[in-house]
């Protein structure tokens, strides 16, 4: 959008034009960073539930002094220095894509949207998410209802009152919405944000590090940037299937390590490719000290490892991943690792024709994490293994 910013600079300075940005991103703080980095000084509003019904970005609309739409298909490459006169005197050929008024009569969405970020929004989500789920269940062909349910699940996952399964529920709801309307690119991007590299139209948030560095250099202080990015959100697009590396040796092939019962909470989520129809997915594995368990990561010894056994006929880009060394002896951070998996129909090259999977088309991926942890209650530190399963079920058309 810098091009819009530049084109409109003089008109804004002369008070001839107001620029108002609208974003549909899940996380508004990322766009705050982007806007500060690019010097956008105009207001930007947040529409995560896509109440505006936008189908694709970018787009621009010219609205005159009387609130009348004068153009709905503005493109910066068509605009010259006299674009204000051209745009507002004589409408261009247009094909508006938005619907108005926005559907703001939905109490739960408005309550969530206008709640203060943090505890108030967490409470709004906890209170209203069941209603959104009920609405989506009652109207299974309502794509917006399903998309909005997914947004709410992901919001709750990102907040302090996340429930187990929220991330996967978000991905499932978005996939259901997209199946209803495959041309809805706002919905598609939500899945791609967390999905495999071959499905990414661009690296979603790879610009963040440069933005932070530039703002530090410009302002002499680190921007207030607290949001955590997943690896998927930083990943570069890749044309073609994930490259499969040497899997190495399973760290506990015989299952000898003591199992963790409740010290650490583990959650997984799977985002499938949305574009090619290939059974390619990005598997998210997240571990954190379980609430109330009084457990912590013990970083004095070897780093945490996560191993994934590729189901028959499937391949994993890298079966063994390690969590980077942590300087503190004890810590409590959330640890997220991601894998990309390739199913047999994607031409992974090792399909036997008799692949694992049940009659619903679901294949189960097995894995485990190995880590050192300590617990306050008993004052003990041990080496533990936590097993997990991931259901791989490619979405059907």
């Amino acid at each position: 959008m810098p091009v819009w910013h530049d084109i409109t600079a003089q008109a804004r300075e002369d008070d001839e034009l107001v620029v108002l940005g609208v974003i549909q991103e899940q996380h508004p703080e990322r766009c705050v960073l982007f806007a500060d980095w690019k010097g956008f000084d105009w207001p930007i509003v947040w529409d995560p539930f896509n109440l505006t019904g936008s189908r694709v970005v970018p787009g621009a609309f010219a609205i005159d002094e009387y609130g009348v739409l004068r153009s709905g298909n503005l493109r910066p490459d068509r605009l010259g220095p006299d674009f204000l006169d051209q745009t507002f005197e004589e409408p261009l050929d247009v094909s508006p894509r938005w619907s108005w008024p926005i559907e703001v009569d939905d109490g739960p969405l408005a309550s969530i949207l206008f709640a203060d970020a943090g505890a108030a929004r967490d409470a709004a989500l906890a209170g209203h998410l069941p209603a959104l789920a009920a609405r989506a269940a009652a109207h299974p062909e309502d794509g917006p209802a399903r998309f909005q349910l997914g947004v709410a699940h992901r919001m709750r996952y990102d907040g302090a009152r996340g429930e187990p399964g929220d991330f996967q529920a978000a991905l499932d709801a978005w996939a259901a919405a997209l199946a209803i309307d495959p041309n809805q690119y706002i919905w598609r991007r939500r899945i791609q944000q967390y999905g495999p590299r071959m499905d990414k139209p661009y690296p979603f948030y790879s610009w963040v590090d440069q933005a932070v560095a530039d703002l530090e250099a410009r302002d002499g202080e680190t921007p207030d940037w607290i949001a955590e990015l997943t690896a998927a959100e930083r990943a570069e697009p890749r044309r073609g299937l994930p490259s499969v590396q040497s899997s190495g040796e399973a760290p506990d092939p015989d299952g000898l390590i003591q199992r963790d019962a409740d010290w650490m909470a583990l959650e997984t989520a799977v985002a499938f490719d949305t574009s090619s129809g290939a059974p390619v997915a990005r598997v998210h594995v997240e571990l954190r000290p379980a609430p109330g368990a009084e457990a912590h990561w013990n970083n004095e010894v070897e780093p945490m490892k996560v191993w994934i056994d590729a189901p028959e006929g499937w391949q994993v880009d890298q079966s063994l991943r390690e969590w980077p060394a942590v300087e503190a002896e004890i810590s409590d951070e959330v640890r997220r690792l991601e894998f990309e998996v390739v199913g047999p129909e994607a031409g992974a090259g090792n399909a036997t024709g008799d692949v694992a999977g049940d009659d619903t088309g679901t294949t189960t991926l097995h894995g485990y994490a190995l880590f050192h942890a300590c617990q306050d209650r008993d004052g003990v530190c041990v080496y533990l293994r936590k097993d997990f399963e991931v259901a791989l079920r490619p979405p059907t058309d």
Binding site: L17, V19, V22, V45, V57, A62, E65, V68, V104
Partner: protein
Amino acid sequence: MTNIRRSLVTLLAAITLLLPDALGMTADDLLPTRRPPAVGSPFGDLVLPDIRTGEPVDLANFRGKKVLLIEFASW
């Protein structure tokens, strides 16, 4: 702030109910199918939170000025 938001939500609900009449449509016209505004037609109302402050921004507050409304993403 709570009262302001409550008023806002109420106002938004009222706008949604009333505006169809203003446009010669029924609520049923609006809800199942989202209709794009035609060029030359009122753009309608838009109230959403500012990404920096969380405060509601109302498009109606810009009446009397030309507005370029840009939808975009940081990615």
